[in-house]
């Protein structure tokens, strides 16, 4: 069994930003030498997410609008009594989920034709981290 771990740092220019990390995940799989297995892609912060969907700019804006609607910014979160202002970012992270697993088959990411892996930043403009963990043979 082989295992390989990589960490990717982000420091997004915008408060909310969607970064296609598919190539970074593929690179980690290649470095691992794993031909059959799983790769976990997981945000290490509680105000960011990781998801699989389409690399289409209109859709990404639709996703952002939708997250704003279902987990809106606002002053009224109890979490803000701690001095924080990012209650919405925690809920957005829970909604989109903070991780995905991609199967590895014959040394490649076994994704469908339109599936791309995205890091979703909901409280950016600071250094944040994502873990890529490959396991298999």
């Amino acid at each position: 069994m082989k295992a390989y771990t990589d960490y990717i740092w982000f420091n997004t220019k915008k408060h909310r930003e969607y970064v296609n990390v598919t190539d970074r995940v593929a690179e980690a799989v290649q470095k691992s030498g794993v031909r059959e297995g799983f790769v976990l892609v997981s945000a290490m912060h509680i105000t960011a997410g990781v998801y699989v969907n389409d690399a289409e700019s209109g859709l990404i804006r639709d996703i952002d609008d939708w997250l704003q609607q279902l987990a809106p910014e606002g002053p009224d979160y109890r979490h803000h009594q701690t001095g924080e202002t990012n209650g919405d970012a925690h809920l957005k992270s829970l909604l989109i989920h903070h991780q995905v697993i991609v199967p590895i088959t014959e040394g490649r990411l076994d994704l469908g034709p339109w599936q791309q892996v995205y890091y979703a930043e909901f409280d950016g403009q600071r250094r944040k981290r994502m873990v890529i963990k490959v396991m298999g043979e």
Copy 2:
């Protein structure tokens, strides 16, 4: 370490449809010969989901109503400027999530008494695919 990969094709009669795939997943685990490990069940399309919940027809209709309410069909998605009409199906996929992992213990799916694995089609009536990937020993 053993790995086994299977692909299931769907071509649902309805635009949205919920298909119980628990037996198909159990079959893949049996074929794999894995006694202890994980099985990943993952949609390969970005307008479909995979989830674990109850095989109760009333509840399945509740889930469908709820998804329609939180990720409604409509003309106003920016994604539709590409010619697509399935913006809602992308959001439904993100909401329900596109994959689950089932633990394998003593050669069997280690599910609770009411847990069933479902493929959730949100843009059907066409050929679509799901991957089942087993890994363990």
Copy 3:
């Protein structure tokens, strides 16, 4: 390859309750002897969830309010025609998701500084179970 399985029982005092299980997961990893791998933490019931987020009491109440808003209790679920009254708990489970994977690196849970693993009970005051499955080397 090593595999280790543990089951945790809950019987919460409240109907909805959020239980920090991070130490229980770390304990299972230690018992497993796995230094590099994955640990799956998964509810075995369809009215409970597992998520990763902050151990801050205000935020936990925000999460509870938010789940109540997006998946409200109510008399009108079709599922209730079976005699059940917990339709909302099924939807809350789907929204928050019922499982997470934590990477294991150098024998430890490879979590970010604020990441904690929570069991989320949505229909408690009865015995329910969660599986922890460790796999790796």
